[in-house]
Structure formats: structure tokens, C-alpha cells
């Protein structure tokens, strides 16, 4: 019941002069119930990759298995609607897609599309709104009257109302203030841990990768450049340099200190542990 890419390639505007191959023979296995970060430079294929997960894009080559659904290139895909009810995809700046008069209507739109009755849809809407930290007093408000951060919560709640098993988020914290970003990432972690959802996050923020994710997929020029656990990934800073990735602050501090005479363990990502290790070394010299 995981996500499996098997030699998947994708070509935009195939057989036209604008043909552009965005994914090349992707083999990738995303484990269920994990929180996975997808990172890589602009144009490396991250968004193209995730849009395959709910069949917004269909592979030009290879095949793809998402939960029980199989999508094979050049074969007519069936049951896409059912697949889409299981995979919730949140685009960049999702707040631009709010459109109904009230938040209640906006949140009910998805569930109703997938066949829920009015009553069921409303129940799901209320639950989803609570999940993103807003109370029922918002239901009859217009989504356009909210602040930017609140709008984004409502947009995400609209996806959660469909109760997907897999949640895919394309740069969910871009443009949010620091606290807003932390709240958002904590919400996804909670959905992952408490509700056992498989979560994929496209992000540029290495602090978020380190603090919230289990695994990391690095994309480069339409291929999978690396796929490893987060702990393994941040161990070797020379590898990160090669990828032009600025490591999270805690890794940078450890690296700077070790370059100047400290001997701090390279698998320590916990602030408390690192600080006590630093204090020990300093006192030991005293």
C-alpha cells in the first residue's frame, strides 16, 4: 500500500517543438505512513513528480502504483476519481484557490464531489476546520475576509475534508511568518503521527526537513539524486555542499565548532544533547 514509481518518465508537450522531458526513468519507493521531504533546485522536477500521485499528470513512460491503483503509461487509466479521493494534493499558495461565498461551502466542495451527502460533508468540513486550528465561528465567514495565514489553513482544510490517506503538499510554508510556518509543519506531523497519514512535503527549508520529516528525496534534473533517512542525509556536510544545500543551523554550528577544535558527534541533531556535549568539552578544558 505504498507509492511505487517504476521507470516513470514525463515529457511536457510531447511531440511538439516545445517538447521537454521533466522526469527521466524515475524509480522510487515511498513508504507508507512516513513523512517524506522532497527537495531540489527550482526546475528539478519536484512538482512534476508529485502531480503524478493523484494522476493530474499521467506518466509518458513507465508505471506507477499508488495504494491499490496502478497507472501505466499509454494505457487508459481507470478509476482516477477513486484514486483522487485517497490522495490530497495541496498546491503552492493554495489560498488563491478559495472561491466559495462561505468557508463552510468551500470545505464541503471536495467531499460532495466525491459523493458525500450534505450532512456528511458538513461534518467532515467542521472536523477539518478544527484540525487546522480554527473554530466553528469561521464557518459562515467569507474565506476572502481572512488573513493570508488563515486562508492557507482553510485551503488545506478543504483537502483534509476529503479525508485522504496520502497528503501531498507543495511548499506549504512559503511566505508564512516563522510561527505560522511552525504551526503548519506541526499540523502535518500530527496528521502523520496521530492519523497515520502518509505525508509528502516539497520544501526548500532544511530546518523543516530536519525537524519534521523521516526521509528525504533529493531531485536533480528530473532524476532521483538521493533517497535516504533525514538523519543519514545531514551527517555528511561535504555532500550537502556539493548539492548547494545550506545545512540546518544546528548542523552548521556543529560543523563550525568541529572545524575549530571541538569533537562533537556528527549524528547529533538534538539541541539539548549538542549543548550538553559542548558544555562538557568546554569544562573538560577548564
Amino acid at each position: 500500500m505504498s507509492i511505487e514509481f517504476n521507470k516513470v518518465s514525463y515529457i511536457y508537450s510531447e511531440k511538439t517543438p516545445f517538447e521537454y522531458a521533466a522526469l527521466h526513468d524515475i524509480d522510487l519507493l515511498i513508504k507508507e505512513k512516513k513523512m517524506t521531504a522532497i527537495i531540489g533546485a527550482t526546475g528539478s522536477g519536484k512538482s512534476t513528480l508529485v502531480q503524478h500521485l493523484n494522476a493530474l499528470l499521467l506518466p509518458s513512460g513507465g508505471k506507477l502504483k499508488v495504494l491499490d491503483f496502478e497507472i501505466v503509461a499509454k494505457e487508459k487509466a481507470t478509476n482516477l476519481k477513486a484514486l483522487r479521493s485517497h490522495v490530497g494534493l495541496v498546491f503552492q499558495f493554495p489560498e488563491y484557490q478559495l472561491f466559495e461565498e462561505t468557508i463552510m461551502k468551500d470545505l464541503c466542495f471536495g467531499p460532495k464531489n466525491f459523493g458525500a451527502s450534505d450532512e456528511e460533508a458538513q461534518k467532515k468540513a467542521i472536523h477539518a476546520l478544527k484540525l487546522v486550528g480554527l473554530d466553528e465561528s469561521y464557518l459562515e465567514k467569507s474565506p476572502l475576509d481572512l488573513s493570508g495565514g488563515q486562508k492557507r489553513r482553510v485551503a488545506i482544510a478543504g483537502i483534509l475534508a476529503m479525508e485522504p490517506d496520502i497528503l501531498v503538499l507543495d511548499e506549504p510554508t512559503a511566505g508564512l511568518d516563522p510561527q505560522g510556518a511552525v504551526q503548519m509543519m506541526s499540523l502535518f506531523k500530527e496528521l502523520n503521527q496521530k492519523y497515520a497519514k502518509t505525508v509528502l512535503v516539497v520544501t526548500h527549508d532544511m530546518e523543516h526537513v530536519l525537524n519534521y520529516c523521516d526521509e528525504v528525496v533529493v531531485m536533480k534534473k528530473g532524476t532521483i539524486y538521493a533517497h535516504t533517512t533525514v538523519k543519514e542525509f545531514f551527517k555528511d556536510t561535504s555532500y550537502l555542499d556539493e548539492l548547494h544545500i545550506l545545512p540546518p543551523a544546528i548542523v552548521r554550528v556543529r560543523q563550525m565548532l568541529n572545524e575549530r577544535g571541538f569533537h562533537l558527534p556528527s549524528d547529533c541533531y538534538d539541541m539539548k544533547q549538542l549543548c550538553s556535549a559542548i558544555a562538557k568539552e568546554v569544562k573538560h578544558h577548564g
Binding site: G175, I245, V253, M271, V282
Partner: protein, 275 residues
């Protein structure tokens, strides 16, 4: 010398959104000031008021001692350049060269001189090899560098960056921060950067913290960014170095409160060697 002075500035978009409430501050000539605050705190509204894109309800704005009025608007806009958030929304030319030329043409710069000026500023932002490229083919960071060159070519005295890196990937972000740092150290230009990036704030000379349309704190980063409670109330956070110092102090280390990682690392290394 004060380059920008704002007194009792007030602005609302409509009766429900009082975006800027009786705000006063000043910005020194040649300084690097950051304005930080949560989404919707009024930061960008202030930037738009400063260049007269929005009209204030009340209060006064002075640029180089000149009051911002309809009569002075053009003169003030010549002094203030601004780079916005979205790189895709600020392209006009069909090539990088045309785009940098656009502002110059508006200022009636002689065509013979234009090439030289374009070259000078394309060099400054490291985009010479892309002068004949189409803007749509550039990355976000490259686009923002072109936007900066276009503004710099107009020789402003003040540059405002309105979350200019927030839509860029880390590499693009670094490129732009590099350009800003260079402008800060090499030219005497006054810089104002509106940002969410707490680590950027620690590198500025002066920081203004906004919350719900009001200034809640202002001062040097080492004074302002150490106030945990106030920062939290404004939906912000401590710089990483201070979070770490708090933890180190629990381990009975005595440290000064450096707001930069580099400062903290220097201090720890000293402790480690002298003891």
C-alpha cells in the same frame, strides 16, 4: 543624518482593515534596516506608503527632508527604488537588456550612454552573460537580480526590498542576499529590507518589529532580537543562536548574548581554548 522620517503615519484599506496605526520611525542614511512582523502586520503597506503607491490617511513622511506630497512625488520616487516579492510580476522587457533599459528610457537617458549603464549594473548583479536572454528562461534568483539591476540603474539613494527572496529557492535566496550584502558594504546606499527571515535580521544595523499595524519594538538586533516574550507575541521567534545560548546556560556556561551564529561560535571557541 535621517534619510527617511515617518511621523504618526496612519492608513486603512477600508473600515475593517486598519493596516498601519500611528506609526513613527526614522531610518539613518547609509544604514541597513530590516522590518519584520507576522503576515498581515503592515510591513508591505508601509513600503507602499513610502513610495506613494498608497495614500496615507494621516501623518507625515519625509525623504531627505522632503515631505511626500503630490508635488514632490516624482522627486522622491527618483530617490527610492523598490524590489517586490514575485519575480514574475516585475518584468517588462523581452530581454534582460531591454528590461534594465526600461527605467532608463523613462528617465530620458541618452541612448549612447545607456549601453554603458546597463553593462555596469548587469555586472554588479552578475548577469552580463544573460543580457540577451529572455526573462522567462531565467530562474527566480536570476530574475530578481535583473529586477535589482533595473532599479540600481536609476541610481536611487534608498533601496527597499519587499520580501524579495521569499519566493526563491535557497540558491536564489543566497544570490540575492549576497547582492544586498555587497550593496551594504561597498556602496553607501540606504537599505530597507522587509523580511520574515530572522537570521537576516541579525545581520542588519537596525530592526523594526511590527505587529497588527503597530511598531512593537525597534533598535539594534542585539537589543531587540533577545526579547523572547515580545517576539513570540508578535508571532516571531528567537534567532537560532539565542535558542542555543539558552540551552547552553542550562549547562552552566556563561555567555554573552550574540544574535549571530558566528558570534556564538567565536565565543565558544575562545572558552574552549583559554580555559
Amino acid at each position: 543624518m535621517k534619510q527617511i522620517e515617518v511621523k504618526n503615519l496612519d492608513f486603512s484599506y477600508d473600515e475593517n482593515t486598519h493596516a498601519v496605526k500611528n506609526v513613527s520611525f526614522s531610518i539613518e542614511k547609509g544604514s541597513y534596516t530590516t522590518i519584520i512582523g507576522h503576515n498581515g502586520s503592515g510591513k508591505s503597506t508601509i513600503a507602499k506608503l513610502l513610495i506613494g503607491l498608497l495614500e496615507k490617511n494621516s501623518g507625515e513622511i519625509f525623504v531627505d527632508g522632503l515631505p511626500l506630497t503630490i508635488e514632490n512625488l516624482q522627486e522622491i520616487r527618483n530617490k527610492v527604488g523598490i524590489v517586490f516579492q514575485n519575480p514574475d510580476n516585475q518584468f517588462i522587457g523581452s530581454t534582460v537588456r531591454d528590461d534594465i533599459a526600461f527605467g532608463l528610457e523613462n528617465h530620458c537617458v541618452e541612448p549612447e550612454k545607456m549601453d554603458e549603464i546597463i553593462m555596469e549594473f548587469a555586472e554588479k548583479v552578475n548577469m552580463v552573460e544573460f543580457l540577451d536572454s529572455e526573462p522567462t528562461k531565467l530562474s527566480g534568483g536570476q530574475k530578481q537580480r535583473v529586477a535589482i539591476a533595473g532599479v540600481l540603474a536609476m541610481a536611487p539613494e534608498i533601496m527597499i526590498f519587499d520580501e524579495s527572496t521569499s519566493m526563491l529557492d535557497p540558491q536564489g535566496k543566497n544570490e540575492i542576499n549576497e547582492v544586498i550584502r555587497e550593496l551594504h558594504t561597498k556602496t553607501k546606499m540606504t537599505l530597507v529590507s522587509i523580511t520574515h527571515d530572522i537570521e537576516e535580521v541579525t545581520k542588519s544595523d537596525y530592526v523594526i518589529v511590527m505587529n497588527n499595524g503597530e511598531i512593537v519594538m525597534a533598535g539594534k538586533p542585539e537589543q531587540v532580537m533577545t526579547k523572547e516574550k515580545e517576539l513570540f507575541k508578535s508571532n516571531l521567534d528567537l534567532p537560532f543562536s539565542l535558542k542555543m545560548i539558552k540551552e547552553l546556560e542550562k549547562n552552566k556556561l556563561k555567555l554573552s548574548h550574540s544574535v549571530t551564529l558566528e558570534g556564538l561560535v567565536d565565543e565558544l571557541c575562545q572558552l574552549n581554548s583559554t580555559k
